[in-house]
């Protein structure tokens, strides 16, 4: 089994997050990260960012409240 490059390893980290990895890919990534502390750091940081992105993008509490009265009037006016 060929060693992954760092470029490939970081790409697999993204694939894992999106659709998961095959058993072979999981193993390859684990081995690479055991030997490459840099990509281990990258994976750790990537997961932290994933959590933050999840909060920012899926939680409406992140958005600062903006009042838009003109919009409300426009919506009601155009209901028909």
């Amino acid at each position: 089994m060929l060693m992954l490059s760092c470029k490939k390893a970081t790409s697999l980290i993204e694939k894992k997050s999106l659709i998961g990895l095959s058993f072979k890919e999981k193993t390859q990534l684990k081995i690479h990260n055991r030997m490459c502390v840099v990509c281990l750091y990258y994976e750790k940081q990537s997961l932290i960012i994933d959590d933050l992105l999840h909060e920012l993008i899926s939680s409406s509490e992140s958005a600062p409240l903006i009042k838009n009265e003109a919009l409300k009037e426009k919506i009601i006016k155009n209901l028909h």
């Binding site: 970081t10 997050s17 600062p64 409240l65 426009k74 009601i76």
Partner: protein
Amino acid sequence: MSLSSDEETLKSWVALHSDKMYSWVFYKTGDKESSEDLVQDTFLSAFKSIRKFEGKSEPKTWLFAILNNKIAEHFRKIYRSPVLTTKMGDYSEKTMNTFFTKDEGWLKEEIPRNWPDEEIHLLDDSAFKSILENCMKNLPAKWHAALQLKYLEEKKGDIICQELEITASNFWQILHRAKLQLRKCLDINRFRK
């Protein structure tokens, strides 16, 4: 002429929820006009199918579900935009070359360093989030759209790709570039000060 009760209901929903809905979309798109259109379209859709709403959920939940569908559609259009795609083709390869050598190892100046655990735990979450928000704003539109689509509705990756009519590999490659850029941006702005 008296308003029908459907209209009364919808008017009250507009009064109660429109600001929050508008704030939510504007936070994502940064564009006033398209945000207003999306909110307006949502209320129009809600009005058309108001009979189907049987009060089984909260009106706010129902309205936000409709809104999020329209937001997803908005970002799918951006993702698929042929103008951006052409540009992105070159930009994507360029990005990989700014992080990795021809042998696919990290370029020396790009090597991620450890983020100290103590620092991460002490981090004021809102400070970190606002740095990340700014980093996201600086991403190319297509990459930003990809992130929005990935995290917005917690859909499975393969479903997102089906809706976009692209391969999963196509999608995660974009996410890969976005993540590389975001990590670097966060690193510079939070940990190297």
